[in-house]
C-alpha cells in the first residue's frame, strides 16, 4: 500500500539522513581503531648478562614444559625469535653461560625437546663450573633428570667429536641421555668431554665421584649399565 504523497517526498530525505548518521558513526568508530604509537615498549636491544649468578623466575625455569622463563623480565631472549635456525648462532655468540642458559631455556619453553633440554643442563653446568653456585648445580641436575624422564629417546645431531666444541662439518646422532650421563661425573676416560682441556667451555662434574652419581641416578629411578654406558629405567 502506498503512503500519502507527502510521505513519498519525505522518505528519501529521511533515509539519506539516517544513512549518513549511521555511516558517520561507523566511520568514526573505525578511525578510532588505530594503535597508539605511544603504546608498548621499544625493545631494540638488550644487554646480555656476563656474570654467573643464577636467579630463577620459577622453581622449574628451563625444565620440561615449564614456560615461565618467557615471562622472566631478566630474560633477554624472551621476545627474540629463538628457533631451530637461530639458536645455534645465538648460543655460540652468547657472552656467558648465564646468557646461554636464558637462550636455551627460551628454546626449551617454545619447543620442548631433548636437545634443548640437554643444552639447558649444559649451560647450568657451565654456570656451576664458573661460580660454584649450588643453585646452578641443583638446577643442572634437575635438567639432566628431565632429559631422562621426558626425552629418554630423543637424539641430537651434534658436531663431532663432542659438544659444544669447535664446530666441524660432521654430524653424529646420539641419544641425549647418553650425552647427559657423560657430564655427571669424571669417569677418567680420555673421551669424557669433561676432560677435554682444549674445549672452550671447561665444565666441572656435578658429582665428585662415580658412586655419588650412581646413587643419585638410582634415586631418579634409573640404573647405569657400565658395559654399554647406557642408563636404563628401573
Amino acid at each position: 500500500m502506498r503512503n500519502s504523497d507527502t510521505d513519498n517526498t519525505l522518505f528519501p530525505v529521511a533515509r539519506i539522513w539516517q544513512f549518513m548518521i549511521v555511516s558517520v558513526f561507523l566511520v568514526t568508530l573505525m578511525a578510532c581503531g588505530e594503535v597508539d604509537e605511544n603504546d608498548g615498549e621499544v625493545v631494540n636491544s638488550f644487554n646480555l648478562p656476563t656474570d654467573s649468578a643464577l636467579t630463577l623466575y620459577c622453581p622449574d625455569a628451563g625444565i620440561g614444559g615449564e614456560s615461565c622463563i618467557l615471562d622472566d623480565p631478566e630474560n633477554p631472549y624472551a621476545i627474540t625469535p629463538v628457533n631451530d635456525t637461530t639458536k645455534w648462532d645465538l648460543s655460540d655468540d652468547a657472552p656467558s653461560w648465564k646468557a646461554r642458559f636464558y637462550m636455551w631455556a627460551t628454546a626449551q619453553a617454545m619447543s620442548p625437546r631433548g636437545e634443548n633440554q640437554y643444552h639447558v643442563a649444559l649451560a647450568l653446568q657451565g654456570m656451576y663450573s664458573e661460580s660454584g653456585s649450588e643453585l646452578a648445580r641443583e638446577q643442572a641436575l634437575k635438567a639432566y633428570r628431565s632429559v631422562l624422564d621426558n626425552y629418554y629417546d630423543d637424539v641430537w645431531f651434534f658436531k663431532y667429536p663432542a659438544p659444544p666444541a669447535t664446530p666441524t662439518l660432521y654430524l653424529w646422532p646420539k641419544k641425549v641421555r647418553l650425552l647427559s650421563v657423560d657430564n655427571l661425573w669424571d669417569d677418567g676416560d680420555g673421551d669424557n668431554p669433561l676432560r677435554d682441556s682444549t674445549s672452550q667451555f671447561p665444565l666441572s662434574p656435578l658429582f665428585a665421584s662415580e658412586l655419588a652419581a650412581l646413587e643419585a641416578i638410582g634415586e631418579w629411578g634409573y640404573t647405569f649399565e657400565s658395559e654399554t654406558g647406557d642408563i636404563i629405567p628401573n
Binding site: M1, R15, G33, V43, L48, Y77, T85
Partner: protein, 1049 residues
Amino acid sequence: MAKLSYIVAVRKFGVIFSVLLFTFLASTVQAQLVDKVTTYKDENGWKLKVNGKDFYVKGMVWGYSPRGENYSYNLWGQPDELIKKVLDQEFTLLKEANVNAVRAFSNIPTRWVTYIYQQYDIMTLINPLFGRYGATINGVWVPNTNYQDETTREILKAEFLEIVEKYMNTPGVLMFALGNESNYGLSWSSFEIENLPEGEQNTGKARYLYSLFAETIAAAKKIAPDHLYTIVNGDIQYIDLIAEYGKDWDVIGVNSYRGISFEDPDNNVSLWEDVKKKLDKPVLFMEFGSDAFNARDFVEDQESQAHYLKGQWLEMYRKSYGRGEQGNSIGGFVFEWRDEWWKYKQTENLDIHDRTASWENGGYKFDHVEGQNNMNEEWFGITRLGDINGQGVYATEPRMAYYVLRDIWSIDPYSTSATSSTGNSKIANNLNMEIYSMKGEIERLKSAKKESDKFKMTGGKFTGEYFVKGFEGDVTENGENGLVFSDGQMLDLDFAFQPTKNLNGQFTLNLQANVPDSNFEFRYGDRGAPVTVKVFDNDDVVTSPGSSQVLEGRERIEIYDFNATYDADEFTLETFYHVPRYHWGEKGDFFGLLRETTDMEGQDIWNSKAPYGVEYRGKNAMDGLTIVFGPEIYWGANPKAMFKYDFDVNGIDLTFIHSEDIAQQEGSSSATEATNKQSRQTALYAKTPIAEGVLLELGGLYSSGEKVGETYDRVEGNDIIVDEIEGKDTLGIRARVTFDVLSSKAYMALNYAGLVADSGDVVTENGTELPYSGLGNKKEIEGGILIPAGDFTIYPRFLVRKNIVDANPLIDPVTTGSTLNPGIAPRNYDDDPFAVLGNREVKSAEVILTYDPTPASYFYDWNVDVIEDAPFAFNLGLTYSEFESVTDSDRFFYEEANTNAAFGSGLSAEDVYLIKSKMIFNTGYSVKYILDLQRGRQQTTGKPGEESVEFTSLEAKAVIDSRHILSGHIKKDAFGPYDFYRQFNLIYPEQYKLEYTRLLDMNKNEKNSSSLGIKVFYRTLDEFSPATEYEDGKNDHMFEIQTYFKYIF
C-alpha cells in the same frame, strides 16, 4: 518478365495468407477447446459451472514425492516416459475414485494439464505459490517474502501474469489461485507447519499481502477475463481484509482444518455463515482432511481418517446449492492424495515415514490430548507411499478413506432432490464403513508395512571396487609387475527407530572387508587400510634395522552417523553425530560463530566424525533459546557450548549468542589443519528497517577476552615494540545496510574487529570469491549492487581491508659482544595472541554476470547441477585482489609429533585473480551438460616462498537420459584436489580424470541409484609435485583405473 514477377508475388501472397489463416483458425479452435468456467448464483445458493454444466469440485491435492526426496524434487524435469508412467498410474486411481479436479504445488506443464484432462477428464487448478516460501528478487533468493517491498510486489505480479498468459488457452484449466496460506506465513517462523495463529496480530503486514492479491487479480482479469481467480487463504483469517480487497475475486479458496465439521453450533460458529455474511462468495476448500495416524495411541488410524473425511464431505454436500442451508459450498480439494515422507523436518529423514506429530489441533478429537501435538504431517494421504515398482514408479496404496470418498463422489450432490438432512442420510446409509475398513486393512497388510515398528532397517548400500594403479618409474622398470592391484568391499546399513511418539532417530552402520588402495583419492574407508609399522628389539631406533610388520583388520566396523530427537512439550533435544548441520547465518548469527558442516564427503576423506554434540531448542516459555554443545559441533571446533537467544524489543529483532570453548582439540580435523587454542565469543545482533526499503543490521562482538594481558611484538619504523593486548582489542562491530537503488538491490557494510576479536565464517552468497576472513585485526569496507537486466543479473562488488597492526617481517637476532638485537619474526597463532593471515590487507573487486531465465531454480543453490531446468543458464565472474603486504606465519598440524608447527614465515605480497564460469545446458533430447571453467593465479594457503603459477581448470559432466553420466576434468598447473595440496603448494603440471557411470535404477539420481562405473586418473609430475610421487624425477606421470559397483537397497 513482368508476368513472371506478378505470378511470384501472387504465390508469395498466397503462402502468407494461408499461414495467417491457419494460425487464426488454430488459435480459434484452441480457444474453443478451452473450457468456460463460471460461477452461478440465485436464491438457492452458488454453483460452479464448466461449459454451462454444473461442476461440484471433487478435488484432490496431488503431488508426486518419491521416497528420499522432498519439495525440491521435480517430476516435470524427468524424462517424458517416466512422467507418463507416473500420471497413468496416479490418474487411473484418481479417475476410479471419481475425482474431477486436482490442485498441485508445482506448476504442471501445459501439455500435461491437457493430457490429464483429455485422458482422464480431470481439471487442474493452477496455483502459483506467489512467494509463500521465498522468492528470487533481482537475482537474490529472499527466504521471507516482504510483500511491502515495491520491487517484490512488481516481480511477483509479473511472474503470475506470465503464468496466466501461459495457461489461459490450455484445455483443462479449472481456475487460477494465488499463494498457499500466505496469511499464516506472516506469523510462522519457518516453512514447517506450526500451530495455527490465533487472532489477527499481523494486520499491518496482511494488508500489504491482500492488496497485492487484489492488484494482481485485477491485472490478470484484463489479460484473461474468461477465467476464474481466487486465493488460497489460511482458514478465513483476515476475512475483513478479504471483504475489503477481494470484491472481484470469483470464489474464496480456503484451507481449513477445523476437524470433522466446519461449524460449532454450541459456540455459534460457522465458516459457511461467516463467509455468506461477510463475503457472499462460494467457498472452495483448497485443503481439508485428516491425517491417518493416531498420535495418542501411536498407531496408524485409517478409520478415524475415513470417518472425518466422510463427515466433512457430508457437511459440504449439505451446504451446497439448493439444500436449504447457506448454499455456498462448491466443493474442495482433499489434503491429500498421498503421504509425503519429507514433511517433518523437510530436509532430513526423507526415506523414513516419521510418526512425529508437529502441531496441535483440538478439532481432531480422535487423538487430541490438551497441550500435545497430534497432527502428523507425513500421514495425510488417503493413499500410502509404497515402494518403487518395476516401472520405476512409487506405488500408490489406497487407505480406507479412498474407498469411502470414491463412493461419496459417485453421488452428484446437485441431483439429490430431497431436503438436505434426508439426502445426506440417504448418502450416509449407503456407505458401509465396515467394508471400507476391511478393504483398507487388506491394503495395509498387503503393503507389508509394520506401522508400529519401533526399530527397523530402512535400507543400505553395498559397494564393490577394483583398482589398478602405477607410477611411470615402476612400470618402466618392472613392466606389469610395476602395477598395483587392490579391491574393496563396503556395506552400509541404515536403521531407524521410534520407540515412543516423542523419540525418533536413525543411524548407519558401516562395515568393510578389503580396502582398495588409491594414489589419487583419500577415501572414506582408508581407516581400515593396512599400516606398516617397524618393530625394534631394543631402544636403539636410530641405528638398528628393526623389522616391518603389517597391521591389518583395523577399524572394520563403525557407526557412520547417528541422530535422535526427543520432542517434549517444553523443548526439543537432538543428539547428532556426523549428520549435516547448517549455520545460523540467517538466524541472527551475524559473525558466523556456528559454522556450517555439510561437506560430509570432504570429512569422510579424513574419517572426521564432526559434527557431534547435542542441541536443545526451547518451546513455549523458553521459545527462542537454543543451546548446542559437544566435542566438535562443527568441523574443526574445539569442545564447546554455544547459547543463542532470539527476542525482539519494540519490533527490532535481536539475537544474543555466547560461545565458550571447554578444551582444545587434541588432533587435527583433517590431516594438516592446525588446532586452535581455547577461546570464547559473545555477540549481539539487531536487525531493523530504518526507512522504506532500507534494512540495517548491526552487530557487536566481544572475543578472546582470555588474551588480555598477553604480549605481542610489532615493528614501527626502525623500532621493535612489545605491547600488550588490551580490553579494546577484544571488541568488534559490524554494520550492514541494504537498500534499493531504482530496481537494483545494493548493500554497504563496515566491519571493525580488534586485534584478537576473531569471529567465524562469513556467510557468502551469489558465488562470490572475495577474500573474506573471520579473523580480527581489521577495518573493512565492502559494498555491491545487484543489477537486474531481464534474465541477466550483474553483480559488481568490492572489499577493502586494512590491518590495525601489520604482519611482522623476519629480522634475525644479532649478538654483538654483550648486546643482543632481538630481531623479530612473523607471528603465529600458537605463540602469539593474533597473526595476520587470511585477514591480510587487500583491495579486491569482483563482477559476476548471471543468466538464468528460470529463477525458480536458483542458480546459486548448492544443488544447482540437479535442479537447474533452464534450457541454458550460465554465470561468468572475475575477481581481482591486490595483496599489498605480507602475512604472518600460518601453521599446520604435524601428525608425527601430534602437535602444531608453524611454517616460519608468511606469504608474500602478490596480486591474484580468478575467472570462473558455470554453464548448464538442458537440451530437448534428455541430455544435460554442465561445464565449470576456471582460470587464475592463486597463492598457497600456508607454505610460503614459492611463486604462484597460473592455472586452468575445466570440469564437465553430461547426463544422458538420466541413466548415463559421463564426467571428467582437465587441469593445468593446478593444486591437487585436497586442501593440504594448496596449503603446501603442491601442484601438478596436468591432471586428467574421465568417468562413466551407469545408473541402474529408474527415476533416481546419482545419490540414490544403484550404479556401476569406471574412473580413469592420470597426472604428470614435476618438482612442485609431492616428493613421494615425483621421487626426484624418477616418475614423470602416474595413473589409476578404478571400477566400482554400488547397490542401494
